[in-house]
């Protein structure tokens, strides 16, 4: 059993309370905070304890656990996530999308049928908008199909910014100038807003990818982009996420992970597929076995 927690002096959190918090976050979000992240977690925790005027960390933890609305959990999660992203990050996968992956997805589809793409863990929206731009610019068959683009994240603040679609130079730096010209409008010095046509083409929603009840809404997905998210999970979280994607995907559908992430270490349900631009993970087609 955990030893009784001493009350924090100097804003520090007792080891037992730290453990309780990490366990709770892992259970609810898949995010795994080790001892090495203690300072990072502690600072944000102290901020929320103060903002909620809870008399102690222990009281705050109880609020997190039992509050019916989950509002405080949401606020804390927003603080704990790492939202770093930019346009055309890991562009080789976007290349892959239009250099073979989508052609394979639609091989047995007739014009007019649906293609569903999902950016799971979209942060402030750069990833789904990059996908949209890439499709419009570089996939010759873009007009033949009804392409549905979904994007989700567990962080409600990041999603608000994604919906708003206003970006600074840092976000845009990998984007060629003519694409900025075509798909953005300046709103202030050093600040551009993505054009409405693109903003309206992405369906943003708040989804925790390790919660089956939330993910179950996603069905018949052809490609999941889940990049630079699973690095923050532990083994079990990764395994859960892999199972969720497997369930959401159509047979033959693909998962694109970040460059340091590999499905073979998290799930036996997918087979690696090597394309000229990238390695992807494929849900076996029906009858092909796993």
């Amino acid at each position: 059993m955990a030893p009784p927690s001493e009350e924090p002096t100097d804003g520090a959190v007792s080891p037992a309370d730290y453990r309780t918090l990490c366990d709770l976050l892992r259970e609810r979000t898949g995010l795994s905070f080790t001892e090495a992240k203690r300072y990072y977690v502690q600072r944000r925790l102290a901020e929320r304890v103060e903002a909620t005027r809870m008399p102690s960390v222990r009281d705050y933890l109880n609020l997190l656990r039992f509050q019916a609305s989950g509002a405080e959990m949401q606020l804390l999660v927003n603080l704990m996530t790492v939202n770093e992203t930019y346009f055309f990050r890991e562009k080789y996968q976007l290349d892959c999308l239009v250099n073979g992956m989508l052609d394979e997805v639609v091989r047995h589809r007739r014009p007019g049928e649906r293609v569903r793409l999902w950016s799971a863990g979209c942060a402030t929206g750069e990833e789904p908008y990059s996908i949209a731009i890439t499709l419009l610019e570089r996939w010759p068959r873009v007009d033949e199909f009804q392409i549905e683009l979904y994007a989700s994240d567990i962080d409600s603040m990041a999603l608000d910014r994604a919906r708003e679609g206003v970006y600074g130079e840092r976000s845009l730096q990998a984007l060629p100038a003519e694409l900025v010209e075509r798909y953005f409008r300046p709103v202030a010095p050093g600040s551009w807003r993505i054009i409405d046509e693109l903003r309206e083409s992405v369906d943003f929603s708040l989804v925790n990818i390790v919660d089956p009840a939330q993910v179950r809404r996603f069905t018949g997905i052809d490609v999941v982009f889940c990049r630079n998210l699973l690095i923050y999970f532990d083994d079990l979280g990764r395994r859960n996420a892999a199972a969720m994607f497997h369930e959401a995907l159509s047979p033959g559908g693909f998962v694109a992970l970040g460059h340091s992430e590999s499905m073979s270490r998290m799930s036996s349900l997918f087979v690696p597929r090597r394309f000229p631009d990238a390695i992807l993970y494929q849900k076996p087609a029906e009858g092909a076995g796993a």
């Binding site: 499709l135 349900l269 796993a290």
Partner: protein, 208 residues
Amino acid sequence: MGLVKAGSKGTLGTAPTGAAAPEDWTALLEHADAGHRRHAAQALGDRPDAAATLAARLPREPDPAVREALLTALVRIGSPEAAAGLAPMLASEDAGLRNGALESLQQMPVDAVEPQMDALAGSDDSDLRIFAVLLAARLGPAERSARLHQALERDPHVNVGLTAAEAVAELGDPAALPALEAFAARFPDDPCVAYTVDAARRRFRGAS
């Protein structure tokens, strides 16, 4: 056509919400439809008392995705009962199941798996004994040393000893030196053993 407007989609399925009563989940684990079985397995992962039920379904489960959901649920439960339910599958003829069980046990807390330790360490399968060594390295100091030293001094399979040698080197415990030397003496012609033992010796010297 092309990119569809977000507002005009609304075509994603509305999933049935998890409204089933707890006792129904257990029954659904045997349902003819794999989707139901998978959801039941996911739901039962919240219920520590379901460990034995989940484990019992595993060897009979033909669908790989449901099998994965069963294993994941057991890892989530992560109790000694869950580990005990998985342990017998380490001897399964079915390689997929065996590997799945092994991988899942590795992801469980060491306290949950510790009761299975003697069975693992005494197994005929050297892979399982390697696993026992890896687990032992995560135990408290007293228990740990006894098990690691034993593997070094006695295990007939060189790979089990090598795993233990790497573990003691990593832990930097000079008390393991005699056991390491004994290991080196048992496999005098194996360059891998010589190399690993030598690396450990140097490591201890650097540490002391």
